[in-house]
């Protein structure tokens, strides 16, 4: 309790910084789920640096494209097509066209020529198309051969792109099939691993739903706590939660990350989880108020926190550790979620320990509820 003012001060700084940044500063960048747009994840056959990429994309309308590297091997990138501000609310088709333009610019000239002469791009093909290519000459084995080729292409070493025909398993598919593939296909210089295009309706829809979900969740919490404990606890809890959300978003806004649906999911999870810790502490407080009638509130609060401290630290510790595992090992797609969770768990624990009881104390001081805080 001694630290309450200090804690408030510290939080205050974070909150102020966060809000400032979110409104005036860098702002929170909405991902395509919320703003609409197009996103492509491309793997190149040969290493290529970000600056080279930017050079290729330095054409009119594509200047503000965002490029993000995946896994530091200079072969795979996530490219976000950004429309100029005024045209942000374009329909899906516009975004899709932009994405096409980008892919086209990044393809090599040889690719274009090969495609024009009727060859199929083996690095961007459905398994059914491979089957169709092979069927005339290998009516019975087409499906098996195609499966081998496909599996090789998509395995962990190749990761979706074949650099030269030698990488195909000649023993499994047979030399004639290999020859046929060499004749009818070419090895594209890039492979599109993921392509997402979102129109504006989805974005506004999602914004509405995310807000509703968060608001209702908070209300739900308030009601639940109000029933199980007393109203004062509910208010303290809500403020603690709000504090968590604001600071997490604030820290998020300082990074280059975009807010997509998984991030909102993380925030909602944090709301629920942070409350966990807070409730455990409140539970102790409630018990101790009954037991330690002679002590004043400040002492009771301190005792409760200390009693539950080991438990709080351990569980937050284990959750934190598992989320870190997700962050490090989980891959790019889930990374934003893991990052948000990491911040959230830390802030949530901090707030449960330092903020929630301080709020109770102040509530008690200001409002002096009749029956005290016991139940």
């Amino acid at each position: 309790m001694r630290y309450k003012l200090f804690a408030f001060g510290l939080s205050g700084i974070f909150i102020a910084a966060g809000i400032l940044n979110m409104t005036v500063g860098k702002k929170i960048t909405p991902g395509i789920d919320f703003a609409g747009g197009a996103l492509i994840q491309i793997r190149f056959i040969r290493p290529i640096s970000i600056s080279e990429l930017r050079q290729s994309l330095n054409v009119r309308d594509l200047e503000s494209t965002k490029i993000q590297e995946v896994e530091k091997e200079q072969r795979e990138y996530i490219i976000r097509a950004m429309l100029p501000e005024e045209e942000a609310e374009q329909e899906l088709e516009t975004h899709a066209i932009m994405a096409e333009k980008i892919v086209d610019l990044l393809r090599s000239d040889q690719d274009r020529q090969a495609a024009q002469s009727g060859l199929k791009d083996l690095n961007n093909i459905d398994i059914s198309e491979i089957i169709r290519l092979l069927e005339p000459s290998f009516p019975n084995e087409a499906i098996n051969i195609a499966q081998y080729v496909f599996d090789t292409k998509e395995n962990d070493t190749q990761k979706g792109i074949i650099e030269n025909f030698d990488q195909l398993p000649v023993e499994d598919i047979g030399p004639e099939a290999l020859e046929l593939l060499k004749e009818k296909t070419f090895l594209g210089s890039l492979s599109i691993k993921r392509r997402e295009t979102v129109g504006p309706q989805v974005g506004s829809d999602l914004r509405r739903r995310a807000t509703l979900a968060t608001v209702w969740a908070l209300v739900g919490m308030l009601v639940y706590i109000g029933i199980r404990f007393k109203f004062a606890y509910g208010v303290a809890a809500i403020f603690t939660l709000a504090h968590d959300v604001i600071i997490t978003m604030g820290i998020f806004s300082f990074t280059n990350r975009e807010v997509n649906l998984p991030v909102i999911a993380a925030i909602l999870t944090i709301v629920g989880y942070s409350l966990n810790d807070t409730i455990v502490i409140f539970d102790r407080v409630r018990d101790n108020i009954k037991l330690l009638r002679k002590h004043d509130l400040s002492q009771i609060l301190d005792t409760s926190i200390n009693q539950t401290l080991s438990r709080t630290v351990i569980t937050s510790g284990t959750t934190f550790v598992t989320v870190v595992a997700l962050f490090i090992f989980g891959g790019t797609v889930i990374n934003d979620f893991a990052f948000t969770m990491m911040i959230g768990v830390v802030i949530g624990t901090y707030s449960s320990i330092y903020q929630s009881c301080s709020l109770l104390y102040f509530w008690n001081k200001i409002f002096k509820p009749k029956k005290g805080l016991g139940k």
Binding site: E91, L92, E93, A96, N124, I125, D126, I127, S128, F150, K153, E154, D156, K159, G160, S191, I192, R194, R195, T197, V198, G199, Q201, V202, A210, L212, A213, T214, A217, G220, A265, L268, T269, V271, G272, Y273, L275, N276, I279, V280, D283, R311, I314, T315, G317, T318, T319, F320, V321, T322, V323, A325, L326, I328, F329, G330, G331, V333, I334, F337
Partner: protein, 519 residues
């Protein structure tokens, strides 16, 4: 006491067996979401206003015909620009109000509200017709998409309407497909449906051409009957179609006055006009219905059809009439489609996500297990057992509910690993407290559990509430996450309170009096 324990032990074993049974082998029993399998995900919106507009057009044409018949003049019949399903007959001949009312009563059915102001008659579509048409448009689009996607011969496509009865969005998920352009083209194309006038029909080509000196006339062509639908005959048809699928708006099975199955169809206004002319000029001749260059049926034109609605009658069974309307509908898109969302995930990315996800799960699991073993010593074993059981139950539940495992779902599993430890820790800490206050082992365990129960419930409840809201408002992969959380946390409460307690009890009642609890 021992009997009690036996029942409890059996229950736990049963749960384990059930979970194992449901979820093994994992690659067959557990569904993978699109983000882990790779494939195409489309969200499209059916512009149902189109359907309403077409119906309005039909009604306008009908009325125009009737007013002309009765020689009632009017200035113009115009659709309202701002509101679908509304049009006005402007400046009709004075004194004909009564006649107009009668006409409308007779021909426009009871789905329109009429209001007359001065010499303007305004008709507004009633709600029930509006809802019906909107619903029909979405259903028909859904069905057409099914038929089209079927042609692709894919494994397990998912086509689902979003939003219940009034929803106008359709989600299409095609695992294993990489090319979303192709999918869009297939969905939006029109199967080629044509109505062509029949010059002659015969069982073989020679007989067919005897009148023409053995040669096909320049403006005609020979098409075969579809062996499944029509007899295997050959038809000599006009090359140019009178009406095509682009003009068709609706087709459904119905019955005529003699209770024979027939197919009713409706054409667009433009198509209606042409149909009118064709039937007018060719009563008594056959009009072949051709789908993708195969003749489906060639009914005789019995009378003039002015309204663009037709009836195809013949010796059809109910099923044949159904099939025919399906064929007709398959060629028809009732409303235009707007694409809202388009996502393609390549299979290698999917595989990558899976392996990364599982690696993360194992890493998380190991870290937690090691920690629990070290910090709580032998009692930590309880927590470890509970945790493993948790995951088993989670897998079993996922398999049972046929829920898809998505990347957020995997994240959910990892979170559950971290959170479920919480319940155990709460109990163990309480037990430690009780022990340090000098209570006996048995009573420490007992009060540890009972004291912790309320706290566990409250704390986990809040996470579950958050997950429930996430489920309500989330879509697709996020719902998988919410489901994983809810099941996982519930399972963890079960294992922490019930299973862990069981292990403790077994340990305690097992023979000699224990001096110390390794905790």
């Amino acid at each position: 006491m021992k009997k009690n324990l036996r029942w409890k032990a059996i229950l736990v074993l049963a749960v384990i067996a059930l979970s194992l049974f449901l979820s093994f082998p994992p690659d067959k029993k557990i569904q993978l979401g699109l983000d882990l399998r790779g494939g195409v995900h489309l969200v499209l919106q059916v512009m149902t206003d189109d359907a309403l507009n077409r119906e309005t057009d039909q009604v306008i044409i009908r009325l125009q015909e009737e007013m002309d018949k009765e020689l009632i003049t009017y200035e113009v019949m115009s659709k309202d620009e701002n509101r679908v399903g509304k049009f006005t007959i402007q400046q009709f001949e004075s004194g004909k109000e009564g006649q107009i009312r009668d006409l409308i009563d007779e021909f426009v059915e009871r789905d329109w509200d009429l209001s007359i102001l001065g010499s303007d008659a305004t008709l507004v579509m009633k709600q029930n017709l509006i809802l019906y048409l909107r619903d029909q448009a979405v259903r028909q689009t859904e069905e057409t998409i099914w038929n089209r996607v079927d042609e692709l011969g894919l494994t397990e496509p998912t086509i689902q309407r979003q939003g219940g009865f009034t929803g106008d969005r359709i989600i299409v998920e095609l695992p294993g497909v990489e090319n979303s352009e192709r999918v869009r083209n297939i969905i939006s194309k029109t199967a080629i449906l044509e109505w062509k006038l029949v010059k002659a029909a015969a069982d073989d080509v020679e007989t067919l051409l005897t009148e023409f000196g053995g040669e096909v006339p320049a403006d005609m062509e020979i098409l075969e009957g579809d062996p499944e639908k029509a007899e295997r005959r050959y038809y000599l048809l006009n090359r140019v179609a009178e009406v095509t699928g682009k003009d068709l708006r609706m087709a459904r099975r119905s019955t005529d006055d003699y209770n024979n199955p027939v197919v009713l169809f409706t054409l667009s206004p433009d198509g209606s006009k042409r149909f009118h002319k064709t039937t007018q000029d060719n009563v008594g001749r056959q009009l072949a219905i051709v789908l993708d260059d195969k003749v489906q049926s060639a009914p005789v034109i019995e009378d003039v059809i002015p309204t663009g609605s037709g009836r195809i009658s013949g010796r059809y069974t109910m099923e044949e009439a159904d099939d025919l309307s399906l064929v007709l509908r398959a060629g028809a898109m009732p409303a235009s489609i707007k694409y809202l969302e388009q996502r393609t995930i390549g299979p290698s990315l999917g595989k990558d996500s899976i392996s990364k996800g599982f690696f993360a799960i194992i890493a998380a699991l190991l870290m937690v297990l090691v920690f629990m073993g070290v910090y709580y010593k032998r009692t930590g074993f309880n927590a470890i057992a509970a945790l493993i059981l948790n995951i088993l139950i989670l897998m079993g539940a996922l398999a049972y509910f046929k829920a898809s495992l998505t990347l957020p779902g995997i994240a959910g599993i990892i979170l559950v690993i971290g959170m479920s430890v919480d319940a155990n820790v709460l109990v163990f800490e309480r037990i430690r407290e009780e022990l340090s206050q000098g209570k006996s082992i048995k009573s420490s365990i007992s009060s540890g559990f009972s004291r912790a129960f309320r706290t566990i419930l409250d704390a986990n409840m809040t996470t579950i509430i958050a997950a429930i809201f996430l489920f309500q408002f989330g879509t697709g992969p996020l719902r998988g996450f919410a489901v994983t959380l809810i099941i996982g946390i519930s399972a963890s409460m079960f294992t922490a309170l019930f299973v862990s307690r069981l292990i403790f009890d077994v340990f305690v009642t097992n023979g000699k009096k224990r001096e110390k609890l390794s905790i």
